[in-house]
Symmetry: C2
């Protein structure tokens, strides 16, 4: 029986997940680099990602479906994912701008919504959760309620705990451990490489 080509395999194959030595903003050198902005150049994988996120939203037959009125996505990396999930689920999308236009109908948030509606924030990944909490601010300032955040990848570096202190539930399609396990299974990573990455992730 042939092995299934997992979503983790897809992400590795198109270069969204790389192993090596990557210098971070902080000066630290990371053994893994995840760049989900590449997804736009691989529409077949982007569609698979949207399908996996839609399944997660529907509860995957294991959990209750996530309840919300609108999807909200964070530019840039989150916006193409949000658009793809919107097209897949038929759910309306909104997005906060990084900068505000100074003319016309100047808006902090693009798209249609009403105060009091529940927004499901979708994004590419979560690390410690601090920037995710900052991203919630324009939405909650506009009167939206955010109870759930859905990411493609949870790097398992504290994001879930950080969100929960704000009463927000994290959902992820893949955890970093799951990705590493899948890549070891498909011989793209050795067990020892996986252990090195996990050790680094846990201590940073």
């Amino acid at each position: 029986m042939e092995d299934t080509h997992t979503l983790a395999d897809d992400l590795y194959d198109i270069g969204c997940v790389k192993f090596g030595q990557f210098k971070l903003k902080s000066g630290l050198v990371s053994p893994i680099y995840i760049d989900l902005r590449l997804l736009v150049s691989h529409p077949v994988v982007l569609r698979r990602v949207a399908g996996a996120m839609a399944a997660k939203i529907a509860g995957d037959g294991q959990e209750l479906p996530i309840q919300f009125d609108r999807l909200a996505a964070i530019p840039y990396a989150g916006l193409p994912i949000g658009v793809a999930v919107g097209l897949e689920t038929g759910k309306p999308l909104i997005y906060p701008r990084k900068e505000v236009k100074d003319y016309g109908t100047a808006k902090l948030i693009e798209g249609e919504f009403r105060a009091g509606e529940v927004a499901l924030l979708v994004d590419d990944l979560i690390t410690k959760g601090t920037s995710k909490i900052e991203s919630l601010k324009p939405l909650t300032d506009a009167g939206l309620l955010v109870k759930d955040v859905l990411v493609l990848i949870d790097r398992e570096q504290g994001g879930q705990a950080e969100l929960s202190t704000f009463g927000v539930t994290l959902h992820s399609v893949l955890t970093l451990s799951e990705i590493l396990a899948d890549l070891v299974r498909s011989n793209k990573l050795t067990g020892s490489q996986r252990d090195d990455v996990l050790a680094w992730i846990r201590s940073n």
Copy 2:
């Protein structure tokens, strides 16, 4: 026989095309306002837009198909349209960032490409074409060739002529005249309102 509900009707119904008095950045007051950023909140219409753009790319049975290697979209309004067209056609997408990150793999353009490839620029609309020409710069600076631009709406205010002076061909799904004609046919606009808008467009 029932009238067809045109794409122009859809855009009007969801508020992407509005008539009234809208103050512009320049101080001028316009009788029409087009905001295609709302499309993300209407995935069914966004999918229809992507289908219409894909048909235009394929030549619609009337023209030769547009030849290109990658789609390129301009954030913000153009990016969701580019993502939808990428998903519809299976063509890879890239996009120039409005600002450049100062860490990690700092990039002017997100997504995968090689110098020498041909990019088809997709965007929401074109007015005079000057900002479209500016948008081409990061792409051509990166070694990409841009021979064609595809927009959803051509406001017919000189964009086509401006692009052609740079050797670039403009393609549009809808011209403003076509939208106005469709809306008059579906009784959303009177003939006299249409004439007022056209007169304003032609003199600005």
